[in-house]
């Protein structure tokens, strides 16, 4: 699954650690999601989408 996490995060000048802290996961988790190595759970995907004030399908896309 692809995503716009890095783009949305850098638009806000947040570090991976900032984003991780805001959604309650580790920095390693954010890094793995951004690199497409790990697909987040649905609750985490919703938390990320809500944080970026977007719909979930505007943040995450099927390959």
């Amino acid at each position: 699954m692809r995503n716009r996490l890095k783009e949305l995060r850098t638009e806000r000048s947040w570090t991976q650690a900032d984003l991780a802290q805001r959604v309650g996961v580790s920095r390693q988790t954010i890094n793995a999601i951004e690199k497409g190595k790990f697909d987040p759970s649905l609750p985490l995907a919703f938390r990320l989408a809500r944080l970026f004030e977007s719909k979930i399908e505007e943040v995450f896309f099927a390959d």
Partner: protein
């Protein structure tokens, strides 16, 4: 999720880690007592040995529950790494254990391997699998 919720969940995860560490230490201590107590502390008195084994089993159940709670509380990537490592360890234990039984039954092994060696090997496999998991998601 608010910032307070996030900090709260991180605090709770740290608390669970501490609790798991305490349960692990308690389990190892009661195991050592049950293993070495009969020879070194109570001269093979049956009642004392049974009490030590029962204490080890009771603390072991607590350790299992603490471990399950810990896995539910940790960060989801950490949980995946840990679950993958547990799956590898279970597979190695199952396959390796039964292969050992087969080779032992066929009289192909000269020396008996103790159950302690088997448990230690699984612990090594688990730790290696955890490290590999962290590298995979780096």
């Amino acid at each position: 999720m608010t910032a307070d919720d996030t900090v709260g969940s991180l605090r709770e995860a740290a608390k669970m880690t501490g609790q798991l560490a305490l349960w692990t230490v308690a389990w190892v201590a009661t195991l050592a007592l049950a293993r070495f107590g009969p020879a070194h502390l109570w001269d093979f008195k049956v009642t004392a040995s049974w009490v030590a084994v029962a204490a080890n089993l009771a603390v072991g159940v607590g350790w299992i529950v603490a471990h399950a709670r810990y896995i539910r509380k940790i960060d989801e990537l950490q949980r995946k790494i840990m679950q993958d490592a547990l799956a590898v360890t279970l597979g190695v234990g199952w396959v390796g254990g039964l292969a050992y039984v087969a080779t032992d039954a066929a009289d192909l092994i000269a020396n008996e391997v103790s159950i302690g060696t088997f448990a230690a090997s699984l612990a090594v496999v688990y730790m290696v699998a955890i490290v590999v998991g962290h590298f995979r998601y780096r």
